[in-house]
């Protein structure tokens, strides 16, 4: 292998690889962000109970039925999205949904991938968040109760701000995993880094292109790792 011509080749591929990396990075960021929002609701839904039991019996029964329905729905969501492969979920959203109902035809590949990834990641993040919430000492809830804070206020002002800190390492982990899982989008021909790498590899019949691809993935992973390390350090100061 002639090393100088190899480097030259890699340099000529770089612009298209970097362009494709943008899609990878953007999809990762957009999916995990949307999933974070969705997963907070899923996590809170999964642990929802009737907190103010001091109501007339019929209303209490209604509230209990309502909360158990919410709990069941959230658990079912998590079960379905964690229990099936992301690859098939992606196929389903891009190819099957339009067959079921033409109105659900998501033509934009990025949007379809974003939806599939967000829905899937939310199921995993919900469990991370639930675990973080439930790891907060019971005394925090008791103190909030004694001070007259409502359940919603207790969650928003006392529990979640503490849970965020505990979520940082597993969420970073999730980012890194998603970054690599985005390579699945080649199956709907969305031009991410893996797809572009494959294209170059087959068009030029050159396996060398996998080297810059690996390096770019590592650099992106490093960006997430370093960022989260800084966040973790900053949040840890007060504990």
């Amino acid at each position: 292998m002639d090393s100088s011509s190899t480097i030259e080749k890699i340099i000529t591929w770089m612009p298209s690889l970097l362009e494709a990396s943008k899609i990878t990075l953007l999809l990762t960021l957009a999916s995990v962000s949307a999933a974070l929002v969705l997963s907070i609701f899923l996590a809170l839904g999964k642990i929802l109970r009737v907190h103010n039991r001091n109501v007339p019996r019929p209303l209490l029964l209604l509230k209990e039925t309502g909360t158990s329905a919410v709990r069941w729905l959230c658990s079912a969501y998590i079960f379905v999205f964690r229990g099936t492969p992301l690859l098939i979920q992606l196929y389903f959203i891009y190819y099957t949904l339009p067959k079921i109902n033409p109105a659900m035809n998501i033509k934009d590949r990025f949007t379809a991938a974003w939806i599939a990834f967000s829905l899937n990641i939310a199921a995993y993040l919900a469990e991370i968040i639930r675990a973080a919430i439930q790891s907060i000492h019971k005394g925090q809830l008791e103190a909030s109760h004694a001070l007259g804070l409502s359940y919603a206020q207790t969650m928003r002002l006392v529990v979640l701000p503490q849970a965020y800190r505990r979520m940082v390492p597993p969420v970073c982990n999730e980012f890194v995993m998603v970054l690599k899982d985005t390579s699945l989008v080649s199956i709907i021909a969305l031009c991410d880094l893996s797809f572009q790498t494959q294209k170059i590899a087959s068009a030029r019949a050159s396996a060398v292109v996998y080297i810059p691809a690996l390096v770019i993935y590592l650099i992106m992973t490093a960006i997430f790792t370093v960022t989260f390390h800084l966040i973790e350090k900053k949040l840890a100061v007060r504990e």
Binding site: N54, P56, G139, E142, A143, A146, L147, G148, R238
Partner: protein
């Protein structure tokens, strides 16, 4: 005069364990009552049942003559309107053995939080009040410290200030000094003594017999879920009537 807090036949079971048995307790305005007794006697459970951290199976709780809670066979019989219920709940301030300060908030923010979010105080109002309360507990210069930077005794004093910020009429103390290093106990007891002298109604579960003897108007001896003896500290410590009290006191002294 109507009792500020009264219970009628409170019963609480943990599974097959009957931890509170027909507790009838009357607390008058300004009373400082210490509850002593062996562990497992139901002292903490009684305190926690009063402000509904534990559900009771049956019994009635009256606050200021108003029925706050009435349960029978594990069901709530009479329910006060939510707003009224919260108002009565806030007549009681609670101080925990493990302080339970909010670790992500400074001392000042810990004290400010509930007045702002529950009572609708403005930031300025809440801040001025919180600062005054921190000064009252001797921590006027610690407002900007996070709990992790405070000693146990200081944390507990912030917790007392935080409870006082809601203007309760009764303060419940659940073993407030049990988690503290011996040399830090005095500061916390000092704050509690001042509070007692200022006329606050207090219900204190404690193992500090010195404090009970000095600050209490009445001492309750609890054992196996009942109030076995209810007397003045003088009477209870020097001339206990119940054999269980005698046994307990001789075992700790």
């Amino acid at each position: 005069m109507e009792a500020i807090l009264r219970t009628e036949n409170l019963n609480k079971h943990f599974g097959s364990l009957h931890v509170l048995r027909d507790i009838n307790l009357t607390v008058n305005q300004g009373d400082v009552i210490c509850i002593v007794g062996p562990s497992g006697a139901g002292k903490s459970t009684l305190l926690r049942a009063l402000n509904q951290l534990e559900d009771i199976q049956s019994g009635k709780i009256f606050i200021d003559g108003q029925l706050f809670l009435h349960r029978a066979r594990g069901k709530t019989l009479r329910s006060v309107k939510t707003k009224e219920h919260k108002k009565l709940l806030l007549e009681m301030g609670m101080v925990f053995q493990s302080f339970n300060l909010f670790p992500h908030k400074t001392a000042l923010e810990n004290v400010m939080l509930a007045p702002m979010k529950v009572k609708g105080f403005s930031t300025e109002q809440a801040k001025a009040r919180a600062q005054a309360l921190l000064e009252q507990v001797g921590l006027g210069d610690k407002g900007d410290s996070y709990p992790s930077k405070l000693s146990g005794g200081q944390q507990q004093r912030v917790a007392i200030a935080r409870a006082l910020a809601m203007d309760p009429r009764i303060m419940l103390f659940d073993e407030p000094t049990s988690a503290l290093d011996p040399e830090l106990v005095g500061d916390v007891l000092g704050v509690m003594k001042n509070l007692a002298e200022s006329g606050m109604t207090m219900l204190v579960v404690t193992h500090e017999m010195g404090f009970a003897r000095e600050a209490a108007d009445r001492v309750l001896f609890m054992c196996d879920g009942v109030i076995a003896e209810d007397a003045s500290p003088e009477q209870l410590f020097t001339n206990p009537q119940n054999p269980r009290t005698q046994q307990f006191l001789s075992s700790i002294l």
